[in-house]
């Protein structure tokens, strides 16, 4: 039944879609090289959507629309709100970069960005396997196109090709898995899936096979080892602004997908997927951190570090259901959510500084390009240092609070294996600290390679400074965001 609530549930998506079309149309009339109208419209759209979803989220209601096809609960709305803000920041940071490199191409940059966000929104809101898949495809198709936006640039094209082939394969995995789940249970509805699986009447073999493929699909989106191969190549090969785009907001969508499929849909199989997530997490932490040490390209290094951070998120997700204690489960999932949100915030700042350093015809991609940044600009060096120390998990920065909450979730299960995992994760953080420190060393201890002053447009400088400050402020006062995540997860589990 399509009632008023159904429309309320998908207002943000409607706004996004309409505005993406409007921007594409207006762009036909705007021939200015900087496409200011598209830029401003895109920012306004994102602000509006963020405000709308934030308002919904604060309202705290759970609405199912279109006969349970979509769900609009606080968790979904907060994730949408944060994704929209992340996209907003991405547009601001990337503006000069894409303009200088001729990637605007008639505003396509903004249109594709909004469409990929639409895909993320649909994924986050989906309460149905098919809709989830549609959202995923919408997100990834727009991303493939964006990676290839510099079509005269061989590296980018190669990255787009890799991304497309591997991404298509992962989508295939996921679809295959979803079809098995459908075959076994006869329903596409995630709530129905849960009921069918928990009834215990289903053939376990088919379910578990389906589960394996689903987990593989989720792991691909997260970039967890061994489904991580695309991450370093795509992060490095894509234009930096695009790297920022695919590295930030989609992580939130991936988290939503994991929660919807594994927790809301397949919780009765938790014992099976917990072990899988545990293995993926161990491998991600190990390989992500070890491989990052050897990198000289900072985008590649951050790519491997992303892999290791996703290992932490998976640890948070798996710590949830050891003894069926709902409170402990909510604690664990909200720690994962907190981790993912703060990680996106940190990534934005990091790539923001990389974008700032990139000049026309010169990509600041090597770690050596950061040499002596502190002498050239203490402000940007400070922001980058805060970002890296945060990723290393050092207090008083937000990365520490994120690691603390995941470790707390692991240890409070009280099981030896989980405590062992916590110790392992902590040891891997030590390796992580080493390569983050190396970049800080280059920035602070080495002599600058050039004295060229760093200037940034006003809007970018303001947002970047606020972003860096937020990493510190949230590190000192994490209570609000933590409570928000906890509340969202509790309500998600309750319905």
């Amino acid at each position: 039944m399509i009632d008023r609530f159904s429309w309320v549930a998908i207002y943000p998506e409607i706004v996004l879609l309409v505005m993406a079309c409007v921007i594409a149309l207006i762009d036909l009339l705007d021939h200015s090289p900087r496409r200011t109208s598209a830029y401003v419209l895109a920012l306004l759209t994102l602000l509006g959507v963020a405000g709308l979803t934030g308002m919904y989220a604060a309202g705290g209601q759970t609405i199912y629309g279109f006969d349970g096809l979509v769900v609009s609960d606080p968790m979904a709305n907060w994730l949408k709100c944060f994704s929209a803000l992340a996209m907003l920041v991405t547009f601001i940071y990337g503006r000069r970069y894409v303009t200088e490199r001729g990637m605007l191409r008639g505003g396509e940059w903004y249109v594709l960005g909004l469409l990929s966000l639409l895909g993320a929104f649909v994924m986050i809101a989906a309460n149905n396997l098919l809709l989830l898949y549609l959202g995923l495809e919408c997100l990834t198709l727009a991303s493939y196109a964006m990676v290839a936006l510099r079509r005269d640039h061989a590296v980018s094209v190669e990255a787009a090709m890799k991304y497309f082939v591997l991404g298509a394969m992962a989508s295939g995995f996921l679809l295959y898995g979803l079809s098995m789940l459908y075959g076994a249970t006869g329903t596409l509805d995630i709530g129905g899936l849960f009921k069918a699986v928990s009834s215990g009447q289903i053939r376990h073999t088919v379910l578990v096979f389906g589960l394996v493929f689903v987990v593989a699909g989720v792991a691909f989106k997260f970039g967890a080892v061994p489904f991580h191969m695309w991450i370093p190549d795509v992060y490095q090969g894509a234009p930096t602004a695009v790297t920022l785009m695919i590295g930030a907001a989609p992580k939130l969508a991936a988290f939503a997908m994991a929660i919807r499929l594994l927790v809301e849909g397949l919780l009765p199989l938790a014992f099976d997927w917990q072990q899988m997530l545990g293995l993926l997490a161990i491998a991600s932490l190990l390989i992500g951190n070890l491989a990052a040490i050897a990198q000289t390209n900072i985008k590649r290094m951050l790519a491997y570090s992303t892999i290791s951070h996703m290992g932490f998120v998976l640890l948070g997700l798996m710590a949830g259901v050891v003894n069926g204690n709902a409170l402990a489960a909510a604690n664990a999932y909200s720690s994962a959510m907190f981790y993912v949100v703060t990680y996106v915030l940190t990534t934005l700042a990091g790539f923001g500084v990389i974008l700032l350093l990139s000049r026309e015809g010169h990509e600041s991609e090597e770690i050596a390009d950061f040499a002596g940044l502190n002498s050239r600009s203490p402000l940007y060096a400070g922001i980058m240092a805060i970002c890296l120390f945060s990723m290393a998990g050092l207090p008083p920065l937000v990365g520490f609070q994120a690691k603390l909450s995941v470790l707390q979730a692991l240890v409070s299960t009280g099981q030896g294996a989980y405590i062992g995992l916590a110790v392992f994760a902590v040891m891997m953080s030590l390796i992580g600290a080493f390569y983050y420190l190396r970049v800080i060393k280059v920035m602070y201890f080495d002599d600058p390679v050039s004295d060229a002053a760093l200037d940034a447009p006003m809007d970018m400088r303001a947002v970047l400074t606020a972003n860096g400050a937020l990493l510190l402020i949230l590190g000192i006062l994490p209570g609000g965001l933590m409570a928000l995540c906890a509340k969202a997860i509790v309500q998600m589990l309750a319905t």
Partner: protein, 491 residues
């Protein structure tokens, strides 16, 4: 805002202000603001001493407010007789360090001064935190400014030293974090350190926790055999960095043993005391001998620090009144004395740009005033009665003899090796004929250097002649601690 909060945040606020002043021509302004900031932070710590109630082991100047409600983490501060003096010491040493860096540091003066002021606030935070997470945050955050201090203003091999410092100490503290979280879950969701001290724990849990905490605190102290980072770091760090490292940062580890290991894990502490005593004795005897053969003055003092800190941990783990009080006094005395020794080396290094003992000789002829100070600090370093160094060592040895005669004898050999390496260095650097032109061209200390050394000299003599104010503050808390260690918490 209570006095403790003021003590923590005043230097940090001044440091933050300094970071906003960037240009080199503002350097003089930066120096004055830094000096004022450090003096103000001394002023706000004074009420802590004057208002301290003697004769109680309870925490004083307690402040408590909710910080992270989801994990029941509180902004919980307080000092007792064990921590009070370290708060005062930290604020005092920061003034000295600001004066010491006055003319020496010419580049990025604002960042240099800001790093030390922020570091000062963070370390005061460590000494006054009564919440596990708060403690950990301050404990770890000190790594950031120290890493930058070593790396930006350090010697030729600074990068190696900065990494070694950072990764060694981080390794230790990460395990501590897991231990804290474990204690949090065991206590039913509390990070309160005083609650942890009443928590019953099984023997295995205690042992595992003991070693997880040991990883952090032993590296920080540093105890043998995880002390190897210290000489490397001292050699490369700038003078001020060495002084703060030796005077205060090393105390964070020893303080951790007193605040966590002993009262929270009394059974494991007693069970593993033999190990701690053995490691301490190795530090005292073996590292003392290692110090004897050093060619580099800073390395020599660094190894001497390891040996002296061995006394501290030895004192703690013989579990009697004499030992623990002696260890605490030794910590404070070592703060003054080693800080002063590093500053003396800095004075010479600024003029000659060498720390090799062999490049000096006969300094007394050109720098008589300076040599007088250096002699006083050298005497304090070998524990001459009447100086700060004597009181603590003497008490630890007495305590050790009370516990076991042979431990006391072994510890007492340190007095011999300590005197040997200190006096031998003194002889080679300051006495004898002038060996080269560098020494002939030396100029004696100026007013600024005189001021900073005089302040330390007063402190060293005062502690040596009249330590009563210090021991008075400690007595009740130490007695309480010994009671806590004596009671088994096995359930």
């Amino acid at each position: 805002m209570g006095w403790l909060s003021l003590a923590i945040w005043t230097p940090i606020a001044f440091g933050a202000v300094l970071l906003l002043l960037g240009r080199e021509r503002q350097a003089q302004l930066v120096r004055w603001i830094a000096l004022i900031g450090s003096l103000v932070s001394v002023l706000v710590t004074l009420p802590l001493y004057s208002g301290f109630r003697l004769g109680t082991a309870a925490m004083q100047f307690v402040e408590k407010s909710v910080w992270i409600p989801r994990f029941n983490v509180n902004y919980h501060l307080g000092v007792d007789g064990i921590s009070l003096w370290f708060v005062l010491l930290t604020a005092f040493i920061t003034v000295i360090v600001v004066i010491a860096g006055w003319e020496v540091i010419q580049q990025k003066v604002n960042q240099y001064m800001a790093a030390f002021l922020i570091l000062s606030g963070l370390m005061i935070g460590v000494f006054s935190a009564l919440d596990g997470v708060l403690f950990y945050v301050f404990f770890e955050a000190t790594l950031i400014p120290m890493y930058l201090i070593i790396g930006i203003w350090g010697g030729p091999n600074k990068i190696y030293a900065a990494f070694k410092f950072f990764l060694y100490t981080l390794l230790g503290s990460l395990l501590t974090l897991v231990a804290f979280i474990y204690l949090y879950t065991r206590s039913g969701g509390s990070f309160d350190i005083l609650t942890w001290q009443t928590l019953p724990l099984s023997g295995t849990a205690q042992t595992l926790l003991f070693f997880a905490l040991f990883a952090a605190f032993a590296v920080k102290v540093p105890m043998w055999p995880v002390h190897t980072w210290l000489p490397d770091v001292h050699v490369e760090a700038p003078t001020g960095g060495s002084a703060v490292l030796a005077a205060i940062m090393l105390k964070l580890g020893a303080y951790g043993f007193l605040r966590f290991s002993l009262p929270i894990l009394p059974d494991a502490s007693r069970e593993w005391a033999w190990l701690m005593i053995a490691l301490s004795l190795i530090a005292v005897i073996y590292v003392g001998l290692v110090a004897l053969v050093q060619q580099d003055m800073k390395k020599l003092v660094a190894y001497s620090s390891v040996a002296h800190m061995g006394f501290v941990t030895l004192g703690f783990f013989i579990f009697n009144d004499m030992g623990i009080t002696g260890g605490l006094i030794q910590m404070i005395a070592h703060g003054f004395v080693s800080g002063a020794m590093f500053l003396c080396i800095g004075v010479l290094y600024d003029r000659v740009h060498s720390r090799e003992i062999a490049s000096y000789g006969g300094v007394v002829n050109t720098m008589p005033r300076f040599t007088a100070f250096a002699l006083l600090f050298a005497m304090a370093n070998c524990g001459l009665p009447g100086t700060a160094g004597f009181v603590g060592e003497w008490m630890v040895i007495l305590g050790a003899v009370k516990a076991n005669f042979w431990i006391g004898v072994a510890a007492a050999t340190a007095l011999i090796s300590g005197a040997a390496y200190t006096l031998w260095m003194f002889k080679r650097v300051y006495l004898g004929p002038m060996v080269n032109d560098d020494v002939r061209k030396l100029t004696d200390i100026n007013g600024r250097e005189f001021l900073m050394l005089a302040l330390l000299a007063i402190a060293v003599l005062w502690m040596g002649l009249y330590p009563k104010p210090i021991t008075d503050v400690m007595d009740a808390s130490v007695a309480n601690l010994i009671k806590q260690v004596a009671v088994s918490k096995l359930n």
